[in-house]
């Protein structure tokens, strides 16, 4: 399935490309952050400390005017005073409007993004790849039907369709116990990871068509190969041929597409969370939506920092995708779709 030539190409391309190294490094950091979030986050990301709200990140202490109402001689007066807002070493990225630690929220947000990105991609691939392979292999009516369904599916923008479906189905979420917290290793942290299950299903349903297109194209070109004809002559049935001969040879472009799709779905998830169509409140997109209300009053970091996290993750995954594409299959630039 993965030949030694493929491995050689991957290594060669990796040695030559600084961007591939950067991509791998970013992805490794994000995956480790997501997995070990309870040990990396200094605070519980959902703990509110109202007396510590709106603290700036380290290095950005500032003075602002704050108005408050005070009782002076039995009358209520509005007093404006200069307040020095100092960053706390305990809150590296500052705190949000409810005094939650931004760094911890960014760390935990990686879990949501990565899990939704990977599960959504797997779901999309598990629908799209079989459908595409069958259509491309059998051609004829099955293929025509698939292509028409794909055309209709493409006519709805992913984000619009996702928003509509979540609007109709509701924002369901599943609590998955955090093994580290259950084992008592990080007692302060949230006991469970909230998986926005509707979002996973919906992003899978709106993005399967990209996999179907690529798998179909591969099957179309592979079905005429000599070895496929040979095994058909030997009496192998269609399903065996698809599974044994077509799929292994079509897997490379599917993997490349899968990488790009994880990035696209992370962007889609953040858009959905931003618009309030998610089942979790621990997500980068959700935090950007919260931070948006603070932009005009000067607390720039609440919206900025989660966005940087999204950008770095997606850059890392895209670089990884570029590396895989350059090493494995130079022919599929531009397919893949996005949020």
């Amino acid at each position: 399935m993965v030949s030694s030539r493929v491995i050689r190409n991957l290594k060669k391309e990796f040695r030559q490309s600084g961007l591939a190294k950067l991509g791998l490094a970013l992805v490794v950091v994000i995956v480790l952050t997501a997995v070990f979030a309870p040990f990396i986050a200094p605070h519980n990301p959902t703990d509110q400390q109202l007396n510590q709200s709106e603290l700036p990140p380290i290095g950005f202490s500032e003075t602002t005017e704050r108005t408050s109402s005070q009782m002076v001689d039995g009358e209520i007066q509005t007093v404006t005073e200069e307040v020095e807002i100092t960053a706390e070493p305990d809150h590296v990225f500052g705190t949000d409007g409810l005094g939650r630690d931004m760094f911890s929220r960014v760390v935990y947000g990686a879990r949501t993004s990565l899990v939704v990105g990977v599960l959504g991609t797997l779901l999309a691939a598990s629908i799209g790849v079989p459908v595409g392979l069958l259509a491309g292999y059998h051609r004829g009516r099955v293929d025509d039907a698939l292509m028409r369904i794909a055309d209709v599916s493409l006519a709805f923008p992913s984000l619009v369709l996702a928003v509509a479906l979540i609007g109709l189905w509701g924002r369901a979420a599943v609590d998955i116990p955090d093994p580290f917290v259950v084992a008592g290793l990080a007692p302060e942290m949230p006991e469970s990871f909230v998986l926005p299950i509707t979002v996973v299903i919906v992003v899978g349903l709106v993005n399967w068509v990209w996999f179907a297109r690529v798998a179909r194209g591969e099957a179309l070109s592979l079905r005429g190969q000599e070895y496929v004809k040979a095994s058909r002559a030997l009496g192998a049935d269609d399903n065996t041929i698809i599974l044994r001969h077509i799929l292994p040879n079509a897997i490379t472009p599917i993997i490349v597409l899968g990488t790009v799709q994880v990035a696209a779905i992370i962007l889609l998830e953040s858009s959905l969370s931003f618009l309030g169509f998610s089942g979790t409140t621990l997500s980068w997109g959700f935090d950007i939506a919260q931070g948006r209300d603070y932009v005009s009053s000067g607390q720039w970091w609440i919206a900025s920092i989660p966005g940087l996290a999204i950008m770095l993750s997606v850059i890392g995954i895209n670089l990884l995708g570029d590396w895989l594409r350059d090493a494995l299959d130079p022919g599929i630039e531009g397919e893949g779709g996005a949020a």
Partner: protein, 330 residues
């Protein structure tokens, strides 16, 4: 096959896809939890209203009658009535459509004007600083969530420097055109228009700028290594002519197809950009209609969005066939 026949054939296929779009949208009514009346009536509707709606929708009729009725209504230009907004859906949707088209076109123009030269320069000066710069810029562009970029633009250009407006549409683009060609041309309207549209257009266009830069760069690299380019060089044709007339033309053909397919991304991006900048387009109508559970408006918006996508892609295919006549015979 002639180009004309190709266009007709593609249009007929397009009608089939639009029919599919309408069917999917009709079916949405039945994946809604509860009675289809709930999908149309406001939550606090009285029993009389509900019965009136049920009768109007023909919910007592068999399913195929409802479906045919829905299609005939659409053909007559009737998308139903929004009880929540108290308006015809057609009026609502087509009232919002121009603002979205304006935003999408502005974003595409920004993207194309910047991206094609950037991609060409990047390819012709491969591995020079300008190439690295363009590569990093386009990598950042395809990796940045557009709603976040929008908020960052607001933060810098509206909050810190107070140059641009961040909410609403300002003036109609038609008024801008009228004011410029009128008896006494006024620049003021143009400036107002720019103050409103610049930031949303950049926020929405950046992803496409990045995507087109990447596609143009790799396409140009591909073309420049081909035999016909070397032959043209050997003949002594000027570099500029080879690059911009021969290589770029061949590069743009696949770029146009990808852009057609990415139109959905553009409209999806417009939905969220409109939410950030309170741009009164179809995107904000979609979000509002979902939040208000205003299904007739949602259905109408989805049909218009899907149909525009199909229409633009037919146009793209015909342009493609014009640029590359081999496609017609494929």
């Amino acid at each position: 096959m002639s180009l004309g026949r190709f266009a007709v054939k593609r249009s007929l296929q397009g009608i089939g896809v639009v029919w599919g779009v309408v069917t999917v949208v009709f079916a949405l009514r039945f994946v809604t939890p509860g009675s289809p009346i709930n999908a149309v009536a406001p939550l606090d509707a009285s029993q009389e209203t509900r019965q009136a709606i049920a009768a109007e929708l023909g919910l007592d009729q068999p399913l195929y009658v409802q479906y045919l009725q829905y299609i005939f209504d659409l053909l007559r230009g009737d998308m139903g009535f929004s009880y929540i907004k108290g308006q015809d859906v057609v009026t609502l949707v087509f009232g919002r459509l121009p603002a979205t088209i304006e935003l999408a076109v502005a974003a595409s123009v920004v993207a194309i004007i910047l991206a094609i030269p950037l991609g060409v320069i990047s390819a012709t000066r491969r591995n020079e600083p300008v190439d690295y710069g363009a590569t990093l810029l386009s990598l950042g562009g395809i990796s940045t969530p557009n709603f976040w970029l929008g908020i960052m633009l607001i933060l810098v250009f509206a909050v810190e420097f107070n140059i641009f407006n961040t909410s609403g549409r300002g003036v109609d683009v038609g008024d801008v055109a009228l004011s410029l060609v009128g008896p006494e041309p006024v620049l003021g309207t143009l400036l107002t228009w720019l103050a409103y549209i610049t930031l949303p257009a950049i926020a929405l266009g950046t992803y496409f700028m990045a995507l087109i830069t990447r596609l143009t760069r790799s396409g140009m690299l591909d073309e420049l290594s081909k035999g016909y380019v070397q032959a043209a060089r050997a003949k002594g044709l000027p570099q500029t002519l080879i690059r911009y007339k021969h290589a770029l033309r061949n590069t743009l053909i696949p770029v146009i197809t990808v852009l057609g397919l990415q139109l959905g991304t553009l409209i999806g991006g417009a939905v969220i950009t409109e939410a950030v900048f309170s741009w009164p387009g179809l995107g904000s109508l979609v979000i509002d209609s979902i939040n208000d559970r205003d299904w007739p408006t949602l259905q109408g918006s989805l049909i218009v969005i899907g149909t525009s996508f199909v229409f633009v892609n037919i146009l793209v295919d015909v342009v493609y066939a014009y640029l590359d006549p081999e496609v017609v015979n494929d």
